[in-house]
Amino acid sequence: MSLALREALLAFRRAPLMSALGITTIAFSLFAFGLFGLVALNIRAALLEVEDRVEVRAFLADGTSEDAIAALLGDIGAFPEVREVGYVSPDSALARSREELAEFSDVFDASVLPGSIEIRLREGSRDPVTVQAVSDRIATYPAVDDVRFGREWVEKLYRIRTVAVYAGIGLGIVFALVAVIIIGSTIRMAILARAREIEIMRLVGATDGFVRLPFLIEGTIKGTLGGLLAVAMTWLAHGLITRTLFESVFFSPMQVAAGVAAGAALGFVGSLMSVGRHLRAVWRDA
């Protein structure tokens, strides 16, 4: 193992330019992925904030008693999807409307606005299907006249998020493939550069696994370094955006670690796929 590691490191020392080129290319493909991830992350954060405002409003029949309202609040508040409920009396609804639409304040009068219950849903229960189901359930109460929620609004939000997620996954796969191919070709070059060593290893009886190991280590190291470099570049880009455009969020430490691990995994897979094929080509002569 230690010898394999030494051989792998020797490859960097012997071909520093090629190694740097390989790492940089991997870093740039992961960087592109990182940038997209950052965009997706920020869309997600923004969506969560907007989603937080998704609310269902149940309008109550005129003359619903205070006891009935309290019972209703208790019932709806106990729904698993519901985070909080609140009663909006006709008076406070009026006050709110006047505040929001100051220039029309005259047209409102307490009698036109019914009392209502405002329902905010828990995170994870804000997709159109769940919101509809909760609304339907609330509508079955006799004291409830009408249930409203911004259906289009909810559905649009949800679609944006779905598109963002699938686009992220799609681009991720494309960039992962690019990284695997790049690592594969740097390993190919490394194998050709070390054809002599490999030939001698075969000659004196090194096992296939032993011959492979340094290349797998080399690929994994390159992937890891590429991943780290990509994180650094993404972080710089994030800093630049925050300073010049708008406040944005960065990946959590776990997400950063996962990104570097993904680089390592890509490096490993890339070298694994390349090493068998190209070693066979080199060995034909030994």
Binding site: R196, I200, L203, G205, A206
Partner: protein, 232 residues
């Protein structure tokens, strides 16, 4: 059947160039020294490749130290190679490493414990007469000295058989004699040697058994050097 090495009706046909070795049968006993000769292109290198399992016979059977070409899996080849030493006309040293690193390489890649490698390399270099050049780079050595390094490397795993493909082909008269002398010393310690050469005077002077190939066919197997005098 006996012998550490045996070929039984071995034929090797290459896809594009045709038959390189045809119906060859012979055996080599433990500790023997045998020459392999024949004109260029007669199949000497192919025969040695068959013995190291770098090539598989098209028909017939190659048996080396209990490994048979009819049953050997490619995963077994490393185990076989560790029991063989192989040297070539062009030395095949790693030019970016010192003499001792070249010899150590063979031990490292075959799993020799690290603390055993240093002393073993020292012994091997002493055996081939290069103890004083351990830290030299290959290009700083003469051809004969480079071949000694290659031989030290070939001996690293204590082979029972040394295969040498024209090891003196690139060397002058004096270096040639030195290498042949070294191979005889190695043979005297119990390692069988099969050495390909087209230098007939070497064979005649030694009086050893020799195999003569011509266009892939084994023309002669014996010790009668007077035949060679006629060739010359």
């Amino acid at each position: 059947m006996s012998g550490v090495l045996r070929l039984d009706a071995v034929t090797k046909e290459y896809p594009r160039t045709g038959v390189a070795v045809r119906d060859v049968t012979f055996a080599i006993e433990k500790g023997e020294f045998v020459f392999l000769t024949g004109p260029s292109g007669s199949g000497k290198s192919t025969l040695l490749k068959l013995l190291s399992f770098a090539e598989r016979p098209t028909s017939g059977e190659v048996k080396v130290s209990g490994f048979s070409s009819t049953s050997l899996r490619s995963a077994d080849i490393p185990q076989l190679r560790r029991r063989l030493g192989i040297v070539f006309q062009d030395f095949r040293l790693l030019t970016d490493r010192t003499v001792e690193a070249n010899v150590a390489f063979a031990l490292e890649v075959t799993g020799t414990p690290a603390n055993a490698i240093g002393p073993k390399v020292g012994r091997l270099l002493t055996q081939v007469g290069l103890a004083s050049k351990a830290t030299a780079m290959p290009h700083e050595l003469s051809g004969g000295e480079q071949q000694r390094v290659a031989i030290a490397r070939a001996l690293a795993n204590d082979p029972f058989l040394l295969l040498a493909d024209e090891p003196t082909g690139n060397l002058d008269e004096r270096a040639t004699r030195g290498i042949v002398q070294l191979l005889r010393e190695i043979n005297a310690l119990g390692t069988a040697v099969l050495m390909a050469t087209h230098d007939l005077s070497l064979i005649m002077r030694s009086g050893y058994r020799y195999l003569e190939l011509e266009r892939g066919v084994l023309l002669y197997d014996g010790t009668d050097a007077s035949r060679l005098a006629r060739h010359q």
